[in-house]
Structure formats: C-alpha cells, structure tokens
Amino acid sequence: MPSADHFAAYSFVDRIDRFEPGRVATARFAVPREVARFPACLVAEAVGQLAAWVSMDRIDFRGRPVAALASQTRILGDARPGDVLELAVTVDQCDDEAVAYGGSAHAHGAPLVELVDCLGPMLPVAEFDAPEELRARLAVLRGPGAVPGRFRGVPSPAVTMLERVAGVSLRARLDVPASAAFFNDHFPRRPVFPATLLLDTQIAHTLLLARDAAWAAGRTVTAAKVTHVKMRSFIHPGQALDLALDVAVPVDGVAKATMQARCDARVVAGARLEMEVTDA
C-alpha cells in the first residue's frame, strides 16, 4: 500500500498549467501556511521536480532524472508560507541518458530563483518508484491537480561542529537521519537524502560562518548564487557526512565560498556559494 508520504512529504508541484511534451511546462505549488520556512533550495527543488515530470514523460517513464549538476542557481527572493509558487521549466535536451534544463520560480510575479544549465542523468525509474504510479500522478497534476497542503516541512539534519575559524572555515559532521517522512517520497523504492536539503544546510551554515567575519561587521550578507553544484553519489539514510565550508574575503561586494561534503573521505557533493555583501 502506498505511503501517505508519497507525493506529499517532498513533492512540490500541485498543478501543471501548461505542458508541451518534452519541452516546456509551467506549474504551481502552494507553500502551506503551516510550514516554518520554505528556503530557496526547496524552491529550486520544485523547479527541478517540474523538469523531472517533463523528462520522465518524454521517455515514457523508462527513466527518472536525479540531481547531479547545476551550473548556476540565482537566489532572487524568499518564498513565504502561504505563497503560491509559479514554476517554469524549459528542457533543452532529454533522452534516456540525461536531461538538460533551465527554469525559474516566481511568487506574486516577483522572481525567487532562476536555474541555469542543469543536468540530471536518467536512471531506471523502477529502481526508485512505481512507473505506473508516476504516470497516474502526472495525469492528476495535468488535470485537476493535487490536493494542496500536503507538505508538512522538513526537519533540519543534525550538524555537529568539529572545527570553526570564525568567518573563514568550518568543519562539521552532518548526520543524515536514518528515517524521515521525506524518504518515503524521495524515493519510495530507494530512499535518498535530497541534494537540496544538503545544500540548504550547507548554505545556512556558510552564511552563519561568513556573518562572523570581521569584514561582515555592520554589513548584510545574503546568499545570491549557488554554482558548480555536483552530486557525485547518492547519500543514504543514516550516513554521516563530513562538511567542509570555506569562505573567502569579499571582492567587489561578493564573498565566495566552497562547500564540500565527504563520506568516508570520498567527496560526495560539492558546490560554490556567492554571497552578496552590502552595507547595512
């Protein structure tokens, strides 16, 4: 019997308004009023999920894309509980090997995130989910739409500080929970810790780190752009990750940081963060 978390605990498309097979889609997602926060990484996840629907349909649900590469994600605004996200994707290429796409999310007409040059390898869909359930779900999304308010928020993973040089570097351990509702949705047959949750955690800690720098005194430091995202392998429930966050002194109002996650000394994920530094 399907879990109640399926298409709920980590699913961010409510209704697809426009669907040009294999090419373009627009959709909506209502951020439930009850959730405490809906960070930019989840907004980006929503855009990626819309691209996933277009690409899975394109290859008749033989494969599904998984997060792998994102050249650039521009963070342009914050989504608030109660906002309705307007999602849009354009698929540049899609075949049984990979999907290349870009997209955006707006709320109240204002831009929230923009994804540029993203690439996800297509893996056999049946390893992750029941193809027939995905097919039926797409029909719902393209038709009446899903019941809104399914998402209940996600818990922040436990992070233990190991070494910290204020404003410069942080070494920490992230303990991926052994079980969580989102694992029943991402994905039912093969639970994977979402790359966007890892990024959200890394960005939050990098911002805290940067704000402790001497150069940040009296200034506002905000996340502006995530680049060079590369997921090298799946992160499984219960795994421990070693996080390495390093912040450079800002140049021309932009502070750059590298964010890396290792598991058993092997790099499993990497990304760079650009933070905008402005006088408060």
Binding site: A68, L69, D95, E97, A98, A100, D117, L119, P121, H228, K230, M231, R232, G270
Partner: protein, 142 residues
C-alpha cells in the same frame, strides 16, 4: 566511409578551451590538465565528471556530443559482438580501439581489457577529438 584523420594542429587549436573546461569541471588546476593524462587515474574523474565535461564542452563549442556514445563511437563499424565478448574487448576490438584512441600511450592498453574499463583510457586529448568530430558533423550554418 573512412574518417578523415585528425591532425595535431586541429587538436592544438581546441586544446586550450578543452583543458580550461576540464579544469573547471574537475575543480583541478589548469596546469594539472595534460593532454595525455588519464582522466580517471590521473585526475580522479568519475562518471558524473564525464557527463559534466561533455555538457560543458557542448556549451563552450556550441556542438552536440552524443552522450554515452563515446565507447560506441570507438567501436566504429565493428559490430558489438566482434568488438567485445563477455565484457572483454576482442583482438579486433583492441586494434580498432588503439586506432580510435591513438593519443593513448600503447602501454596503457592492458590485455585482457574489460569493455567497462575503456573510459579509464580517456585523456583530455580524447575529448579534443570528440569536439573536432562533433564540429565536423555539425550542420553547416544556413
């Protein structure tokens, strides 16, 4: 039809941009990217890096490189069953592979060679040749 040979001058022409693209994809220093270094053994590249590099090269050179087809291209006109048997590259397959990957030093072609290990042979120069082939196959501008 036999492929028109790729000259060293053609490789040299695309190499700087290929090397820069690879350094960016691998997070490596540009000086660590040498034309004949093994991408896997010398630069710790993984399968996701190959996908990344192909994607970046497509954008950098405005070309289309068929993803996942590098090994298939290496086989040329040789039918799959004559190229490899039970996952091992045949003698004829090795001849074809050495010709296709002429930039790879001969001593790196270990025998028996598993077909799955062919990517271990790839070098930045292999990708230069991929770019040149894709440029040749690109339709002429209208």
């Amino acid at each position: 039809m036999a492929e028109q040979p790729i000259t060293q001058a053609q490789i040299d022409a695309v190499y700087p941009k290929v090397a820069e693209t690879m350094a960016d994809a691998l997070g490596a220093d540009l000086e660590d990217i040498k034309p004949k270094v093994s991408l896997i053994e010398g630069l710790d590249a993984e399968s996701i890096d190959f996908l990344d590099m192909v994607f970046r090269l497509e954008r950098a050179f405005k070309i289309k490189i068929p993803r996942g087809k590098i090994v298939e291209n290496a086989r040329g006109d040789l039918p799959e069953e004559e190229f490899e048997q039970k996952g091992i590259v045949t003698e004829r397959g090795l001849v074809q592979l050495r010709e296709y990957l002429s930039e790879v030093p001969a001593e790196r072609f270990k025998t028996p060679l598993k077909a799955a290990e062919i990517p271990r042979l790839f070098t930045p120069e292999t990708f230069c040749k991929l770019v040149i082939r894709a440029q040749r196959e690109a339709p002429a501008p209208a």
